[in-house]
Amino acid sequence: MTLAASVPDTWIGTLMAAVRRSPAIRAVDAAREEEAVAIACGATLSGGCGAVLIQNAGLFNCGGVLAGLVNLYRIPCFFIVSYRGDRRDPVYYHEPKGRVTEPTLAAWRLPFAIADRAADLEGQVVCGVEAAARSGGPFVLLITGEDLA
């Protein structure tokens, strides 16, 4: 991965703090999630490997750019998405987002996996990046706050 474009939430902010310490990855703070997707695609189209780190609410903003850029031009694009509102999320107001996250991913035909914190997280990221590269499209790794503990 050479570039990570992000709009943070609490969990993604923690992850991006680690990304910023990497000398190999350019961290880009985007103002809006659709931008982050296009920025990552631009890096990939020009010889790098871009990734997108956003909250699930932000992923919901990205239907247009997923259809009209990532899928239309078959650009590999790996996402790490915080799964707010799942059963492990302690914050009550995220619950509506949690209810629709997996149905939305399914409806948008976005390949995804839910990170297993008991297994090798680094390996799951590598698998996701490789899956996006193989398919020439998006792949979403859903994470919870616990995954970052």
Binding site: A38, C41, S46
Partner: protein, 185 residues
Amino acid sequence: MTARKPLLEALVSMLAPDDVVVSCLGANSRYLPHLAVPVPVFALCDSMGAAIPLALGMALQRPDRHVVALEGDGSLLMCPNVLATVAACRPPNLTALLWVNGHYESSGGQSLPAAPLDWPAVGRGLGIAHVARVGDVAGLRAAFPKARAARKPALLVLDVAFDPAEPIPPYSERPDQIRARFQIA
């Protein structure tokens, strides 16, 4: 007000070998295949607002290339926030040309919301370091080299005539062809 095609032709004539062009959907993307552009072009056909962030990702990934983004005012009005993202990244190798005609040309020529938009002020207000307004071909010929030489994120605001009868050519390339042909050495 100047028509689109002479401005595009002037831009193409000024492109340097290390340039890369990202074009917004619509008329620009439809014209470019007919203008013998001498540099890599990534032409969008269905993603409003993606040209500048796509160009930003390229500019950050390839600091050895100068990336020229062509964006429409309708598209940028959907996501002007991207200018703040560009300003924060401070790429010295990104020039955005904003084609302002006050209409959603590709979707049937509807008017943008009738607000007195001051795009240079928007650009400056969101932190773009080099902003200039261009009203004709001579202005573009003067402004584009300055934007490139500024070595700062640049926004050129082009006032373009809206002509509903303009014979814009149809799309001549499919996305898979555009993607396959787009290679930056």
